[in-house]
Amino acid sequence: MLTRFKTYTTQEKVTRCAILALAVVLLVLPLFVTNSYRLYFFSMIGVYIIAASGLDVLVGMSGQMSFGHIAFLAYGGYISVLLSNYTGIPVIICMIIAAFASAGIGMVIAVPCAKLRAQFLVLATIAFSFFTYQLICNLHFLNPYRGLYTEHMVLFGLDLNSDYRYTYYFSFALVAIVLVLKSLLSKSKAGRAMMAVRDNSRSADGMGINVRHYKVLAFAISAFLCGFAGAYMAHLTGFIVSDSFVQPLSFNFVLMIIFGGTNTVFGPVIGAFMYQLLNELLASAQAWRSVLYGVIVLIFIAFLPGGCVAGLRRAGRGLAKLIDKNQAGKETARNDKS
């Protein structure tokens, strides 16, 4: 592994060191943060990262916009909760089943949606999330207004809900898996095909890509991740209620990927952290919060369209150049001496 590390360019080394440092900091964090609410808060960021990564597969990779992805969190959440409450299947397995079910729903939605152009697609996704919310509100066995209590997540005999340190590490592991898979996807045939569809669907078709197939696939993958995030959220909070799934909440995930940067692995991570932090910081601003969000989004779109990741990349490139220069300087100095 170390020998492989030496073959990387300085910039790649800088990036990898930064990622490693971030991972280490996050891994040891629960040693210092023992406040249960804080740990819950961080576990929740995991939910957001998974959902935002899912949305990013659709928006960043395949170029289809959705303002209705909260609906997939709803499907994932309710399916998992119903399954675990009524059948006694282990919760973790229920969550996975719910994610697959959500992906199936995503595919059904995607088949007509794949034909729609930008603004019509957005309208269709908004309509879809309104439909979903109304559906939940009208299914009385879901107890939509008062909510349902959910089962605890048990992994190999360990009750994750008993201590938020456990959910913290569970979030960490889930996010790591999602990020690795997403990065692998972007470097594969399917990921390339989605990006080709995004850049130029007409010539993608001419080059042998079944455009419709990959649009539907992107929808399914994003619905899978959002469904899983929804299921995890329901079991993490111990409670599920229809109000968690109103359409405007879809915008939060769009905000996260705009903050972080679309079609990047770490964009949703940075975006989710930023969103949660802003939420906390702006909590006292109340009604002004949405105004501030609007201003921040405009600033991002105008000055940093690639999101924070683009900015960090630029910084990383600068740092790499500085290191290279420094090393070259040292070498010439050494050569001069000898």
């Binding site: 470097k187 045939k189 990921g191 010539s203």
Partner: protein, 250 residues
């Protein structure tokens, strides 16, 4: 190889292609020339399924492909370049060409997500194939640049490499020399000759008479939607109807 029979394409009241029949012979370079607006690109689009038409038939290797789906025709062995550059501009040059290999790479979603050993092998083979295609057009050293960063003429060459990566039987080139300078045109001639040596049939639309006369074996001439002449380059060059169409005489 490709046979078009009585193809007619209408846009509202305009007849862009009017009852055109042509035949692209296997292993040869067939030229398609004509003034602007003659309907050449529309005919191309009809062949590779971009343009649908209820009138006429197109056959590929004896099978009817009229109004076929673009991606399926590409799989069958028809590839093309575009008059307006149609690259994936945010992707690297190599990834653009890798898109061409898409329909020749067998692994599926599981391979894409988990990078199985089988996937890695196939991906490696595809990458080598793409680099060969880039070498053929002399662009292998630019493989890591974003496609949008290249000059116009270079982008055209990348389009050819991408089309070659689909392993076509027939290659449709839509004005490949447009926007190229004299030296680039010379390289282009060489490239096209090398492509035919690989056994790939070529159908080429071109404005530049020098290019078309030098490389094509057989030429069709269109004007105002009609086919007005066909024959060897020399025959066509001396055809009075062609001269009239090009010089605007009566």
């Amino acid at each position: 190889m490709i046979r078009a029979e009585n193809v007619t394409v209408r846009f509202g009241g305009v007849v862009a292609v009017n009852d055109v029949s042509m035949h692209v012979e296997k292993g040869k370079v067939t030229g398609l020339i004509g003034p602007n607006g003659a309907g050449k690109t529309t005919l191309f689009n009809t062949i590779n399924g971009v343009q649908k038409t209820p009138e006429g038939h197109v056959y590929f290797e004896g099978k009817e492909i009229t109004n076929g789906k673009g991606y399926k025709l590409c799989e069958a062995g028809i590839s093309r370049t575009y008059q307006q550059i149609n690259l994936f501009l945010s992707m690297s040059v190599l990834n653009n060409v890798m898109i061409g290999q898409h329909c020749r790479i067998p692994y599926g979603l599981v391979g894409s997500l988990f990078h199985t050993p089988k996937m890695r092998r196939q991906e490696q083979a595809a990458r080598e194939e793409c680099i060969k295609c880039l070498e053929l057009v002399g662009m292998a050293d630019k493989k890591d640049l974003p496609a949008g960063a290249l000059a116009y003429g270079e982008q055209r060459l990348i389009e050819i490499a991408r089309a070659l990566a689909t392993k076509p039987k027939v290659l449709l080139l839509d004005e490949p020399a447009a926007g190229m300078n004299a030296t680039e045109k010379l390289t282009l001639n060489n490239i096209i000759q090398n492509i035919t040596k690989m056994g790939i049939t070529v159908l080429i639309i071109e404005h530049d008479m020098a290019v078309i006369m030098e490389i094509s074996d057989y030429v069709y001439v269109m004007d105002d939607g009609h086919l007005i002449a066909e024959g060897t380059p020399v025959e066509v060059q001396n055809n009075p109807a062609v001269i009239a169409a090009y010089l605007g005489g009566a």
